[in-house]
């Protein structure tokens, strides 16, 4: 279900921004209750820039990216649970949530493309990779099979697959994990998309291959100039790639800003926890700040007030407001926002005196 704004207050495209998500909500009605996977998320992204979305498992990262791609409403059959979506998603001046699904389908794969976490399960086991890339190209381009094939081989070559014309005839299982992810990337890039969403593109790969894939994504972004959203729970990945960082917790943004700012002057206790759980080569494990305690909250009964309060070591200092009022994002620096009830000076003091020295 798509909840549109009434015509009268129809919002206009945000000026100058390539992608703008405003107050996105994605709720799933289930037998246990309403799962609020994304609950009031806003962000913007310009062409040629990279946004890193970080957060624990279950914080709503994938649900957000699928919403942008329009994949929550595509291909629903029978009595399958329908996600309830509301808010706005503006892509290049078009609002997607209120658009005709078929129009959004034509944008998928052409203007926006996605790379998935596990390339083995995300590629069809019974079609050759060449066939799958050719298919992705021919949905959006009226070209001959040969021309599409040439294009596919060209991209396979570009993403670093050796002997691309020969390997195009192979099936996904005949590739190693890293090569398979390169195939996925080639498939995503075949139509020169202006927005590329990479949902944990390296989680299924081993460490050395991870670095190669990240390098590849960075190079390709420079070359193609697309906007990139990279989703991960590894802050190290975004540190390398992202211009901006958005930290998600329980379907909401708790902190966002330029990567530099978020890394050097984070202003949310959850971000501190994430930084603390980041593996560092130059420290003994025991010296490091203890990672975020406890487990991610239920998205059906999201904790009252600040959703992070049951796990926050500073909630007590701030007082009852933390359990009764949802903190809103407030400016804490240039283009840098965080949602926490703790006084800004106090947070900056805790960071510099208590947290930063231990990292």
């Amino acid at each position: 279900m798509t909840i549109n704004q009434p015509e009268l207050v129809a919002p206009r495209a945000p000026a100058g921004q390539f992608l703008a998500v405003r107050d996105l909500r994605v709720h799933f009605p289930t037998d246990d209750g309403l799962v609020k996977s994304v609950d009031g998320l806003s962000f913007t992204l310009d062409k040629g820039r990279t946004l890193g979305i970080v957060g624990e498992s279950g914080s709503g990262k994938s649900v957000t990216s699928l919403a942008v791609m329009g994949l929550h409403t595509a291909g629903l059959h029978g009595n399958q649970v329908r996600a309830r979506l509301s808010g706005e998603i503006w892509l290049d001046g078009k609002e997607l949530l209120g658009s005709d699904p078929d129009e959004v389908r034509r944008l998928r794969g052409r203007e926006m493309a996605m790379i998935f976490q596990d390339p083995l399960s995300a590629l069809h086991p019974y079609f050759t990779i060449g066939h799958q890339i050719v298919e992705a190209y021919r949905v959006h381009n009226e070209v001959t099979r040969q021309a599409a094939r040439k294009r596919a081989v060209e991209l396979l070559d570009r993403v670093g697959i050796p002997q691309p014309d020969k390997r195009a005839k192979d099936y996904p299982h005949q590739f190693s994990g890293g090569m398979r992810q390169r195939v996925m990337i080639a498939m995503a890039l075949v139509n020169n998309p202006e927005l590329l969403i990479a949902d944990e593109p390296t989680t299924a790969l081993d460490v050395t291959v991870q670095a190669q894939i990240l390098d590849l994504i960075r190079d390709l972004q420079k070359e193609f100039g697309s906007a990139v959203i990279i989703i991960t729970h590894d802050l190290g990945v975004v540190a390398e790639l992202a211009d901006d960082i958005l930290v998600m917790y329980a379907g909401r943004c708790v902190e966002k800003g330029p990567a530099e700012q978020v890394f050097t002057t984070p202003r949310h206790p959850y971000t501190w926890g994430l930084l603390g759980s980041m593996p560092r080569l130059d420290r003994e494990r025991s010296d490091r700040l203890i990672p975020v305690k406890g487990s991610p909250p239920s998205l059906i009964n999201v904790p009252s007030g600040c959703a992070f309060h049951p796990r926050c070591p500073y909630g007590e200092r701030v007082g009852a407001v933390t359990r009764t009022e949802v903190p809103v994002l407030r400016e804490v620096g240039p283009r840098h926002e965080a949602a926490c009830h703790m006084a800004a000076e106090e947070r900056s003091r805790v960071w510099t005196e208590e947290i930063a020295p231990k990292l």
């Binding site: 791609m69 994949l71 595509a74 291909g75 059959h77 029978g78 009595n79 399958q80 389908r105 034509r106 944008l107 998928r108 794969g109 052409r110 493309a113 996605m114 998935f116 596990d118 399960s121 995300a122 590629l123 069809h124 086991p125 019974y126 079609f127 298919e135 992705a136 949905v139 959006h140 192979d170 099936y171 299982h173 005949q174 590739f175 190693s176 498939m187």
Partner: protein, 358 residues
């Protein structure tokens, strides 16, 4: 992954060798190995059936020679038959001669007269002294007609119903189709068959179910087979609809289906190409095995509709204690099952690129 619709027969194994392609020589070696296994398998089935059926008269005290010539025959005639048929030879000698007859044909002789039985010689019917092989070959086309027509019906009907049910899961259509399918798998053929006979043939007198071969009278052939086809297809369509629905639902949840949508493919291509390709894989496998089993004779259907196929032949032969015919039908059935297994394994390697013949 490997758990779903794994190759039957266990002969094709799933392997994921990067960059590996089957070389013709390995395929040939595989084929030779499998065909040898087929022959050995058939020999074992022959021996087992032979042993069972030729031991029975010894155990029950009936004399096969008596069955041949009738109870009132004089002792000399019985002795003559016994010698001619080699019935007093040791079992293994009889078995050897039987296999020899299958491969090269054999002569039955008792000094006085010689009867030549050309290969493949399955011997002579105890009842009417006809050669078994022509009896089998005259019954096979009936079974073949029944199986082929029913198969066409149930594949189209079952798969279509299953796909629509999966796509409209939870709808009225889905629930009613699945209830009908449940009835289909639980009602025995002799029940559905008799009901359809009672309605269309006896009560309404619409359909004449007397079988005539396709080559003699295509119209009659078709008419006589409509009810058996539908009855048999109903049972199988029910099973295939349930299987198709379950497989399709599982496939629709796969990541690569989401990828297909993420490319911007329309739902028609996503379902009709990407999902169907995976759904058909286990179905084709099971289809091969079901067809193989059916070609040995659809006993209940043929008996219910009085079709002169292999299954009906087997039932008659059993009540007649006509051991050579029983042996013949058993061997034909075993042959089709073993061959179907081989074909399915080969087919599997073609339709699932992850399977290597090894």
């Amino acid at each position: 992954m490997a758990a779903r619709g794994g190759p039957p027969g266990g002969a094709g194994r799933l392997r994921h060798p990067p960059g590996a392609t089957a070389r013709p020589s390995t395929v040939l070696a595989y084929l030779i190995r499998r065909l040898t296994a087929v022959v050995v398998m058939l020999l074992i089935v022959t021996l087992a059936t032979f042993a069972i059926f030729f031991m029975i008269p010894k155990l029950t005290g009936t004399d096969p020679a008596l069955l041949f010539v009738g109870k009132q025959a004089d002792p000399a005639a019985i002795e003559g038959i016994r010698e001619k048929m080699g019935l007093s030879d040791p079992v293994l000698v009889q078995f050897w001669k039987f296999v020899e007859g299958l491969v090269a044909g054999r002569d039955y002789a008792n000094g006085v007269d010689v009867t030549h039985c050309p290969a493949p010689c399955f011997g002579y019917s105890f009842r009417n002294e006809q050669e078994v092989w022509p009896v089998l070959t005259s019954r096979l086309p009936v079974t073949l007609s029944l199986a082929a027509g029913a198969c066409l019906l149930w594949v189209i009907g079952g798969v279509a119903a299953g796909v629509v049910s999966a796509l409209k899961r939870g709808s009225v259509w889905d629930r009613s189709a699945m209830s009908v399918a449940l009835a289909g798998v639980s009602l025995p053929i002799y029940f559905t068959g008799l009901v359809s006979l009672a309605i269309f043939s006896y009560a309404l007198d619409l359909i004449n179910v007397d079988y005539e071969p396709l080559t003699q009278n295509p119209g009659k052939w078709f008419e006589s087979l409509i009810l058996p086809w539908i009855t048999l297809a109903f049972l199988y369509a029910a099973m295939y609809a349930r299987l198709t629905r379950a497989t399709m639902l599982e496939i629709l949840g796969e990541d690569y289906i989401r990828t297909a949508r993420a490319k911007g493919l329309g739902e028609g291509v996503v379902i009709g190409k990407h999902a169907m390709r995976s759904t058909m894989t286990p179905i084709l496998t099971i289809l091969g095995l079901d067809l193989g089993a059916l070609l040995g004779g659809a006993v209940l259907t043929e008996t219910t509709f009085n079709l002169p196929g292999l299954g009906q032949g087997a039932v008659r032969a059993i009540s007649d204690k006509d051991l050579p015919i029983i042996l013949g039908v058993t061997l034909i059935a075993a042959f089709f099952i073993v061959i179907a297994n081989l074909v399915v394994d080969l087919l599997y390697a073609v339709i699932d690129p992850r399977v290597r013949l090894s």
